[in-house]
Amino acid sequence: MDIRAQVSMVFHLDKCIGCHTCSVACKNIWTDRKGTEYMWWNNVETKPGTGYPTLWEDQEKYKGGWQKDSYGKLQLRLHSRLKGMANLFFNPFLPTIDDYYEPWTYDYENLFNAPEGDDQPTARAVSMITGKPMDSIEAGPNWDDDLGGSPVYARNDTNLDELTEDEREQLNELERVVFFYLPRICNHCLNPGCVAACPQGAIYKRGEDGIVLISQEKCRAWRMCISGCPYKKTYYNWSSGKSEKCILCFPRLESGQPPACFHSCVGRIRYLGVLLYDADKIEQCASVPDDQLVEAQRNMIMDPFDPAVISAAKANGISDAMITSAQNSPVYKFVMKWRIALPLHSEFRTLPMLFYVPPMLPVLAKTRDGTYDVAGLENENLGAMLSSLEKARMPIKYMARMFAAGNVGEVEDVYRKLIAVRIFKRAQKVKDYGQAEVDSALAQGKTNAEEVEAIFRLTALPTYEERFVVPPLGRESAVEAWEDPLDHKREAGFGNLVQITRRRF
C-alpha cells in the first residue's frame, strides 16, 4: 500500500449556469500573456457540442490517452517510445491553432485617429499572432455556446455515436432541444497521458498534492503532451515555445485559498477536497475493461478513517492536516460515500481526479403529437418525477458515454439517487408526493432519508468551508516540517538559502 494524497475536485453540473465566470477569473490571472491568448485552462462547453478544441473527444483524430495493446498492456495511444522519438521533428497528431481559434483584438486606435471622412470609422479585427487584419473570424472561445441542436456543432458530438438515428433526430426536434454545460479544467490525473508522452520528462506530478505541472525550464517544445492529453488541457505557447497548463492555482492553494475558478464560481458548483489513494494500484486500475473503469477508480481511493490507511499515509510523510482534510473531504462524500460523482471519459484511462455530478436535465419532457405529454406521465406507475429517467430528453446512453465509459448501469444508479433526493425534498416542501412514492424512490435510489438530507445539504446549502477543504500548504510551515526550525535557522539563516534536494520517483 503506497498511500498518496491528491487534491481532487467535484463539479456539480446541475448547478452550472454556464456564465463563464470561472474562465474569466482564470484568464485574468494566468493566460493574459502573449502566446496564451487562445488558451483557456478553464473552459465551459455546451453539450452536446464539439467542444474546445474542436472535437477534442475524438481520439481517432488526436490520439490522446491510453489504450490496451494486443497483449492487454497499457500503451499511450499516441506513440511507443521509439515512434515518439522518431516523430519529434513532426508530430502527426498535433492540433493546430485552427483547431482552437486564432486570437484577435480590435484596432481601437482607428476610432480615434481615422481621418475625417464620410463614413463612421470602424475597429477592424486584428490577429494577435500576425498583427494583420482578419477579414473573417472563423472561430472563437465558446463558439458553440448554447447551440444545442445545431447541425454544425451539437450533431457532430462524438458522444452521440452510439445513439440510434431516431434518437439523434429526436434530439434536434425543436421542443426537445436540450443542452447542458460542461466546465473543464485539467483533471490532474493519476495516470496522466501528458507526463508519459513528454520525451524530455518536463512534466511531473507533485508528490504532496498530486498537482500536475510542466517545468518551463525543462520543456523543449517537443509538443507531445498536447497530443498525449486526451482532454486537450495542455496548451502550446506559440510565443515562448513552451507548453503550459492549469496549475490548480497552486500559489493560492499554498496560502489556503481555493483556485480562482473555484472561488469565483457563481453557481457554487465546485468542490475541492483531498482524496487518499493507493499508488500501487494505478496500472492495474487503468487496465481493466471499459465498463469496470469507474468502479476500479473507486477501488483505488482509500477510506481516510481506516487506521491502516492512516498509518500508511503517515509513513509516506502525509501530514496530519492533510489526513484531517481527507476525512472532511466533500469530494470523498460525492465520489465514495454517495457515489453520485463520476469521472469524465474514464475510457481514456488516465484516471482523472475531477469528478462530475451529472445534470438532471428537464424532468417533464416528452412530446407526443407535437405537444408536451405532461398528462400522459400521470399514468406511468412511477409518477412524473420518477419517470423522468426513462423519459429524459437526453438519452442515458449519451451520459453513460461521457461519464462512465459506456456503462449505463453506473449512470442510472446515480440518477436514481438524484431523483430520490428530488422527490424526498419535494414531498417535504411542496407535499405533493405520498409516503409510498417517497419510499419507492428511496428504495430505487438505494438510499435513505439521512443520506438524502446530507446530499441535499452539501448540494444546495454548502458554506465556503464545506466546499473547499484543503489545508494551506504554507511555505513557512513546510520549512519547519523539513527540519527542526532551530537547526534550519542556524544552517541557512532566514528563508531558503540552502538548496533543498528533490527526490524523484
Binding site: 517510445r81 511531473y204 509538443r223 502550446y236
Partner: protein, 228 residues
Amino acid sequence: MFDTALLIGFPYVATAVAIAATTYRWVFDPYSYSSQSSQFLENRALFFGSVPWHYGILTILLAHIVALSFPGTWGLFTADQNRLYVLEITGLSLALMTTAGLTILIVRRIFNVRARAVTTALDWILLVFLLLQVALGFWVAYYYRWGSDWFLHTAAPWLISLAKFRPDITSVSALPFWVKFHFINGFVIVLLLPFTRLVHLLAYPFSYFWRQHQIVIWNRARGQRRVS
C-alpha cells in the same frame, strides 16, 4: 597565410567559442535550450520540409562523423567500386533531399504569415548559412565526384590533425575553392550553434527510451517530515 587563418585559426576559435557558449547557456539559461516549434501555427508545409530535412541532415552528418572516426574501415568499404557507387548515389540523393527540405522550410517561413511572426533575425541568419552549407555540400558531391573516398585523404587528416592539436593543412591546401568554402562554412555553423536555435541538436531527449512513464517529484525526501 589566408589558408592558415581560415583552416586552422578559425576552426579553433569557432570550436572554442561553441564549447564555452553552449556550456554557459546550458548552465545559466536552460530555459532557452530548445528550438521553438512553429508546427502549432503551420502544419502542412512543415511536414514536407522538416521530415526530409531532419532525416537527411542527420544521416549525412552521421556519415561524415563515421568516416572521420573510422577512416580505415571506411576506406575498406569504399575500395569496392560497386559499394562506392551505392554510397555516392545515396549521398547525392540525401543531399538533394536535405536541400529541398530546407528550401521548403525557408519558403514556408517567408510566405506563411504566422510562421514568419515567430521567426527571429538569428533564425534567418542560421537558415541562410545552413542552406549555403547543404548547397555547397551538394555542389561538391556533384562536381568533385567520389568525395566519400577522397575525403579520407584530404579532409580527414586535416580534421584529425586539428583534433590532435598538431594542425597540418598540407592535405587540404590544394583543394578547390568550393570544397574549402564548404569546410569553412561548416565551422561557421559550429560557431552559430550556441547562439541560435541550433542548440536543440544537443537537447535530444535520449532518456525517454528508458525513463519511467510517470514522474512524481516530492518537495522533500519522503517520510522524513517531522510530525509534531
